[in-house]
């Protein structure tokens, strides 16, 4: 096991897959000569050259569509969209071309594209550089959405996404690129579907994904040590499809659920997970499931307001205590 950073894990997945298959290419703004805003493609340009590591113009709709078109012929493009906020400009091609082409061609064409993008609120970047947009992607038929919460997932999910014949959106997080973690030394493919129990518990399930898994883990520790509440943390690394069986299994065990998302609440991961709980295991519940989420505001610049807009582990603790009637 190597202890490496999230960005290094992503870089390693790129490198291994590009070395294996000459049709794996990557493209995006600043990813080549400059090595990538978050270093996720560092060194690849020198190794694989400009035909396979393409510095694109600032033209999100254009280069995303180009990647989709190339994938029709069996090329495996990995598109980096520098910040998820810019993905709005690329969504027409992601949704109307990549996600639908298999269906509307009756199975003749597929778009085995990978779209990677950095989301989340970082440090005072303001409204147009702090979006969380997973909820926009996870409702699109024909698109898979995964979101790594640690380097091992970042490495293994990208490896699997590149090999998968479906278009996959990988939602990374701006604050996690320098996070360290264990990654297997040998080749490792993380499943694109499912969820993981990140911490076992018996009294309540905290559902998180990406950065909110870490808030959940921290909250679980506090709940355990200070309040004697045993929280299970479930990491929903796959947002599309969501792991219905995994959600049901955990709620059936703990009988309580809190969904923690950095995104705003409306039509989000929380609403979707709670709907699944209602459909799958309503009568197992001992309390109404709740959501912990950000405020419905364009992300403020001011540091105090910024912090107030985004949830953290303390909000998770509060929500659980309230659920247990102890707040």
């Amino acid at each position: 096991m190597a202890n490496i950073m999230y960005w290094e894990a992503i870089q390693r997945a790129h490198d291994e897959e590009m070395a294996r298959d000459p049709l794996v290419i990557c493209l995006g703004e600043d990813i080549g000569v400059a090595g990538g805003t978050y270093k996720a493609t560092k060194g690849l340009y020198e190794k694989y050259g400009p035909l396979r590591v393409m510095d694109t113009p600032i033209s999100e709709g254009g280069f995303t569509g180009l990647a989709v078109g190339a994938s029709f012929l069996g090329v495996r493009p990995i598109v980096e969209i520098m910040s998820v906020n810019f993905a709005w400009l690329a969504m027409d091609q992601m949704f109307n071309s990549a996600a639908k082409v298999r269906y509307m061609s009756g199975g003749q064409l597929t778009a085995p594209c990978v779209f990677r993008s950095a989301g989340g609120a970082a440090h005072q970047l303001g409204a147009q550089h702090s979006a969380r947009m997973e909820k926009v992607f996870m409702g699109i038929a024909g698109l898979r959405v995964v979101t790594p919460s640690n380097p091992k997932q970042a490495y293994g999910l990208l490896k699997s996404a590149i090999r998968c014949d479906d278009p996959v959106f990988i939602n990374e997080h701006e604050l996690m690129y320098n996070m360290k973690g264990e990654v297997p030394d040998g080749e490792y493919f993380h499943p694109l579907e499912g969820s993981e129990v990140a911490r076992a518990g018996t009294d309540v399930t905290l559902f998180g994904y990406n950065i909110s898994v870490h808030w959940c883990l921290k909250a679980a520790e506090i709940l355990d040590k200070q309040y004697g509440i045993s929280a299970e943390v479930v990491d929903l690394y796959s947002l599309a499809p969501l792991d219905r069986a995994g959600i049901k299994a955990s709620v059936t065990k703990t009988h309580r659920a809190v969904v923690v998302e950095e995104d705003e609440a409306p039509v989000g991961v929380g609403s979707e997970v709670i709907a699944i709980i209602n459909e799958e295991c309503f009568f197992e519940l001992d309390a109404a499931p709740v959501r912990v989420h950000s405020a419905l505001v364009p992300q403020p610049y001011n540091h105090t307001l910024e912090k107030a807009a985004i949830p953290d582990h303390e909000d998770v603790v509060k929500a659980v205590l309230k659920m247990f009637g102890r707040a």
Binding site: G62, L66, A70, F72, A141, D166, H190
Partner: protein, 333 residues
Amino acid sequence: MKIEDKKRVLREMVLHRRFEERCYQAYIERKIGGFLHLYPGQEACCNGVMEAARPGHDYVITGYRDHVHAIKCGADPKEVMAELYGKETGSSKGRGGSMHIFDAGKRFMGGYALVGGPFPLAAGIAKAIQLKGGDEIAICFLGDAANNQGTFHETMNMAALWKLPVLFVCENNLYGIGTSIERSTAVVHQHKRVAAYNIPADECDGQDIEVVYEHARKAVDHVRAGNGPFFLELMTYRYRGHSMSDSRGYRTREEEELWKQRDPIFILRDRLIKEGATTMAEFEALEKETDAYIENEVIKFAEASPEPSVDELEKYVLADRESQLPWLTGKAA
């Protein structure tokens, strides 16, 4: 063009015209649903370009006015009609419809309903060709109004920058639905717009197939020789409304009549008669024969074909599960 090619293309263009007119009728009979965009008047464009290219070998992509382009690439007219009928035997298994005809085996990469959407896809196909090292080219047919989308400019920039083997064919029929080009576009002559991207371009009459062919040959040769993209503008006209719901109130009957004087099929027919290669009687017989083929084979096939099964509503959303299991479960082979 050689005389036998001209005779063959005349047959094909008659098929294309009669196919589209039969679609019109089937739509009135409510056999065809959705939007229906017909091609009569523009036949010399697709035919002229594809005669200069290699149908079934070069990759073609286009917008929603796509039936004729598909057939010219080699798609079976029966399957195209079955698609319009929404049948399981259709070229997209009834999941696509008029605006989404596909025949990947014939390298017809599809019709797309979002105006401007195919531009970057075409560049991507060209990128794949470049990477794989084949001698194919990508050909993108779109209308003039599509050029006002951002995708047009983004794609021209990338195609020129990376010298992609892609031919853009602008079928300038002077209208985007009911808005004339003078009212939507600052520069009427579309081939001038790509000069800013250092893309060589050409313009010609889109009604005379031999003229189109001569210009297309140079364009295709330029791209196939590895010189990067080319932009070809063909001046043409569609006889019918934009779609079936369009009553053409935005243009005059005089203008329409003027263009019908320069009908692409009649231009070729009259030339062949003059050259002694065919006669009016032969042409009329060809029309009858074509109609009989469409009625007895194409329509019959579409009518008799089964509907897709509702049990398969969710087929084709994602890749076949079995083949993807290693990546879905993480257990690589």
